[in-house]
Amino acid sequence: MLPTIFYIGLSVLLFVIGVCGVLLRRSTLMVFMSIELMLNSANLALVTFANQRQSIDAQIMVFFVITIAAAEVAVGLALLVMIFMRKKTTNIDTMTTLKG
């Protein structure tokens, strides 16, 4: 068993990659995938701590996160398809209708 710090390090790495993806990528699909990456990095951290503390609570939390992520993907991808059908592009910078 590797020490916990390695798992956490990987989790942080994945999270930062996800954040960078959200902030820097123009393709909405890639942004979406980056969000999934962040969710999974959080899952990894939860599982790691659960393993360390020999507790089952955090693992239950992970299942919740996975379920919700699945639901989110379903809705999000549907939205994405609709956006693409309208704009013929998935460039996130073209979606500025909320401009005040």
């Binding site: 959200v22 902030l23 820097l24 996130i92 910078d93 979606m95 500025t96 909320l98 005040g100």
Partner: protein
């Protein structure tokens, strides 16, 4: 006893029911008029029955009192919704419901084709209700309800044609209505103060109390030496103070100097309204109030003196103004002011019976004259200017006949109603009060009365029609019988108080305690002289204006007398310039102040700074904030991230 009490409560209940029915249920011109007229006729029949019952009672306790419910109880002062029916109330109620019923019936034809008949008849009924409450209340507070009620109805009915911008001669109905309301309000303030003085000193507003002895009227003598402190202005006797405040109310409601200016303009309303409100009933409320509270004036000779001065001066001013008018209704309006002056002067001299006598006869023949002039206006298709009339005798023979009766009665020609009542007042000024100035003023006014009636009859009926485009016709419909009945009443009205017979005097004796004056030969000669003078003056007026001078008058002309009298005539025509003075002293400064306040405070401060300023500030702030909302999702995400970092950092470092 109990069923009689119940009966008098019915008298005001009928008009109220008519009002409510016309407001909420009855629709359609025909139905409105019928309901309104029937309710007043029912009230009249009830009044007659009540009067017959009253006449059968013992003279010492000849009154019917009924307390419907306790209205207010504030501290030790209680005000009941109580009705009081004594001989004085009886004659007033008979006049109101009798003449009122005739005018309602007349209105059915007169208001035919009007756009708002429901409104009209409802307000007319409400008016009669308010007037009945005024004369039937057993306390000042309820009287004030009626007092304000008639003022309100007057406002509503003068402004009945509020959508017309100009009724001849150049009066705007909505402005005339406001003017009447404001002028009345000035007087009402006086009456209100009188009520406060009475409450604070006597603790009750009831005239007589339920037993006829416990009201403030019977306790006035105890207070004859009480004074009210006016601070820097010294002290004034309580009773005189109350009397002066009541006079202020009377002056407003009865259109006396200096508040009569609203009455001529009130002619902007429909003619039956002028007949009912501005001749027969509402304006007589002031005379009634003085007579009802005559005990106050008996104890305040200084106030009574002022009443005489006000009355006599108003009689003269009204008469001089009436001779110069060309609008057929304005002549009658100024004439009403003048005749009210007679009544007020009589009341001030202590001749209360004569005042009420003249009130009754004047109510009859002035209603006749107004209804007659209404029939003329109806037949001339809304022409009111006498310069466009003339020669109507051929076209309107029936109206001519009844109008002549009314004119003779008003001029005080023997043996019509006006002669007996007016002569009684002038005779009282000469024999009773022995005041030569008042006698001369009243006599002069009476001569002018005959003159302007002669002038009016000549201008209206004699010669040829001046306006060639007019198509006069006589189509009376339901207006016919009220005119006939009032004409007969104007002839016979004097019978109720003939010298030597004096039924009215005996009838009012339980209330006013005035013995009829003995009829002497010198009084007869005096009356004969006045009647001869009046006849001569009336004939002169008729002769001048029916002759070649009158024939030359064309629409838009000045009166021929203007050529000789110049500005004096002009001054008469303007009602001695009182309107002008008010315009200058009150209306113009008020308008200027309002314009100033509107421009500076309303538009700049309230609109500019408070309303639009605060709205603008919020708007500008929002615009600044809205710039952050650029709609770029990645910017939002970055801000979100920074927020999370800051929060987590705060929690981690703070912990």
């Amino acid at each position: 006893m109990t069923q009689i009490s119940w009966l008098i409560a019915l008298i005001p209940a009928f008009p109220l029911a008519g009002f409510l029915l016309n407001v909420f249920l009855v629709r359609g011109e025909r139905a409105n008029g019928t309901v309104a007229s029937l309710s007043i006729v029912a009230a009249f029949i009830t009044t007659v029955v009540a009067v017959i019952n009253l006449a059968g009672m013992a003279e010492e306790s000849r009154f019917i009192a009924i307390t419907l419910w306790e209205w207010l109880a504030v501290g030790r002062v209680t005000v009941s919704f109580g009705l009081w029916f004594d001989p004085l109330t009886a004659v007033m109620a008979l006049l109101i419901t009798g003449v009122g019923a005739l005018i309602h019936i007349y209105s059915i034809t007169y208001m035919h084709g009007d756009s708002r008949p429901g409104r009209y008849f409802a307000y007319m009924n409400l008016f009669v209700f308010a007037m009945l409450i005024l004369v039937m209340s057993d306390n000042l507070f309820l009287l004030f309800l009626g007092w304000e009620g008639v003022g309100l109805c007057s406002f509503l009915l003068i402004g009945h044609w509020f959508d017309r911008k100009n009724v001849a001669p150049g009066i705007v109905p909505s402005e005339a209505a406001t003017k009447a309301f404001v002028a009345n309000r000035v007087g009402d303030a006086g009456l209100l103060l009188a009520m406060m003085a009475i409450v604070s000193h006597f603790g009750t507003l009831s005239f007589f109390g339920s037993d006829g002895l416990s009201g403030f009227v019977s306790r006035l003598t105890d207070a004859s030496f009480t004074t009210i402190s006016l601070g820097a202005f010294g002290n004034v006797g309580l009773v005189s103070g109350i009397a002066f405040l009541i006079i202020l109310g009377v002056v407003g409601k009865s259109a006396q100097l200096p508040l009569f200016v609203w009455l001529p303009d009130a002619m902007a309303g429909p003619t039956p309204v002028s007949a009912l409100i501005h001749a027969a009933t509402m304006v007589t409320a002031g005379v009634y109030l003085i007579v009802r509270t005559h005990a106050v004036f008996d104890l305040a000779p200084d106030a009574s003196g002022w009443v005489v001065i006000i009355g006599a001066t108003t009689a003269l001013i009204g008469a001089t103004a009436a001779i110069t008018q060309f609008d057929i209704k304005r002549v009658l309006a100024y004439s009403t002011i003048s005749q009210l002056g007679f009544m007020i002067a009589a009341a001030g001299m202590g001749a209360y019976t004569a005042a009420i006598f003249h009130l009754l006869t004047h109510g009859l023949f002035k209603a006749l004259l107004f209804l007659g002039s209404g029939a003329i206006i109806h037949g001339m298709h809304d022409i009111q200017d006498m310069r466009r009339m003339g020669g109507l005798r051929k076209h309107m023979p029936v109206i001519f006949l009844v109008y002549i009766v009314g004119a003779l009665a008003l001029s005080g020609i023997f043996p019509l109603a006006g002669f007996w009542s007016k002569d009684e007042i002038i005779a009282h000024a000469w024999y009773g009060a022995q005041n030569i100035n008042v006698t001369v003023i009243l006599l002069l006014s009476s001569l002018l009365t005959a003159f302007y009636m002669g002038r009016q009859v000549a201008l209206t009926f004699a010669g040829e029609v001046r306006d060639k485009d007019a198509h006069p016709h006589e189509d009376l419909g339901s207006m016919k019988w009220p005119l006939y009945i009032l004409a007969v009443a104007s002839v016979l009205g004097g019978l109720i108080n003939l010298p030597g017979v004096h039924w009215l005097n005996d009838w009012l004796n339980p209330v006013l305690h005035q013995e009829a004056e003995l009829f002497t030969l010198s009084m007869g000669i005096f009356a004969a002289v006045t009647v001869l003078l009046a006849t001569g003056s009336g004939y002169l007026g008729y002769r001048i204006y029916s002759g070649p001078i009158g024939a030359r008058i064309t629409p838009g002309d000045e009166d021929p007398a203007h050529y000789y009298l110049g500005d004096i005539w002009k001054g008469f025509e303007m009602g001695w310039g009182l309107d002008y003075v008010y315009q200058r002293i009150f209306v113009k400064p008020y308008r200027t102040l309002s314009t100033f306040l509107h421009d500076v405070f309303d538009q700049q401060a309230i609109d500019g700074i408070l309303v639009e300023g605060s709205a603008g500030m919020v708007g500008r702030f929002s615009q600044a904030v809205a710039r952050i909302q650029n709609g770029n999702v990645r910017t939002y995400a970055l801000v979100f991230l920074i927020g999370v970092v800051v929060l987590v950092g705060y929690v981690v470092i703070g912990a």
